[in-house]
Amino acid sequence: MNPVPAFVSYEFAGREELCLCAGAQSLRRILLVPPLFDEMNRMRKMLVDVMHSLEALDIGSFLPDLPGTNESFVALETVTLSDWQNAVKACAQQNDISHIASFRGGVLAVAGLPSASHWIFNPVKGATLLRTMLRTKVASDKESGFSTSVAELTSRAEANPLELAGNIVGSDLFKQLNSAGIPALAKQRIVRLDSDNKPCDGQIQGSALWLRAEPDEDPAMSAAIAQDINEWLGL
């Protein structure tokens, strides 16, 4: 039976935010930056499985709640991308971590740590994430009898907070995400699924859980991610 990961907290903007932690006493430690919005929910079980696998390899891992997400008491509509970047930086510094693994849109929240070593899984631009959320809103508006468009919703979201697929996204967060590209980091390893045709430094077999209708798991992929991170970290 695997030990259960424990919640610890980190301080950001005068508040305590939660962080799931496994194997904190290990000498090798890594911060896991989760995907954003719905993708985080769909991949959380997979990430917790990664934490178990890392612990079995004697690697400690920390999975913070970004402000406004998961158990955070902060209202998402007040949060900006800069807050997420500063929160990730604060969590890394408070736990003395210099290696960061980010998943999907999580890579957009690592800009506060340019000199850290980055392991990056299937990175995505902010505009791509928003486009799917805007399309979902166009479809749900249509079902409610309203006719909207991606362009119209974009202008609305740039001026006022807008509910997108269950998330109230503030206009600063929307604008920052919409222009946030995948950062080019000095020390990085980009890993993608073997079904992906984009440039990368390594591929693993697995499922694009972020595209699924419901949260799911892929234990073999979680183990493969932990193994890749293990080799990347070295001894």
Binding site: R131, T132, R135, A139, E143, I190, N197, D201, R212
Partner: protein, 90 residues
């Protein structure tokens, strides 16, 4: 760094369907032009369709406008592949 590999529109549609529905390569290889999609596959709800369109844009480097998307597009696998083929030649 491994370079980007060019995908045919049909291969891209097949790969996205496989990812969204969580199918094996063998299962998705059995899709034909007549395979029914929207309505026949419960996983393909409006959110999944939104993700599918964005993934196709990303993998084929195309832009899909709101007014190009209608119910007919998702009726069959063949319709979706034909649409993707038209978009890449635009």
């Amino acid at each position: 760094m491994q370079n980007e590999v060019e995908l045919t529109p049909e291969a891209a549609v097949r790969a996205v369907m496989r990812d969204i529905l969580g199918l094996s390569e063998e299962q998705v290889a059995e899709f034909t032009a007549e395979t029914e999609l929207f309505g026949a596959l419960p996983e393909l709800d409006s959110m999944a369709v939104a993700g599918l369109l964005t993934e196709l844009e990303d993998r084929l480097d195309i832009m899909i406008e709101d007014d190009e998307v209608d119910g007919e597009l998702f009726e069959t696998f063949g319709n979706l592949v034909a649409f993707a083929e038209t978009k890449v030649t635009e």
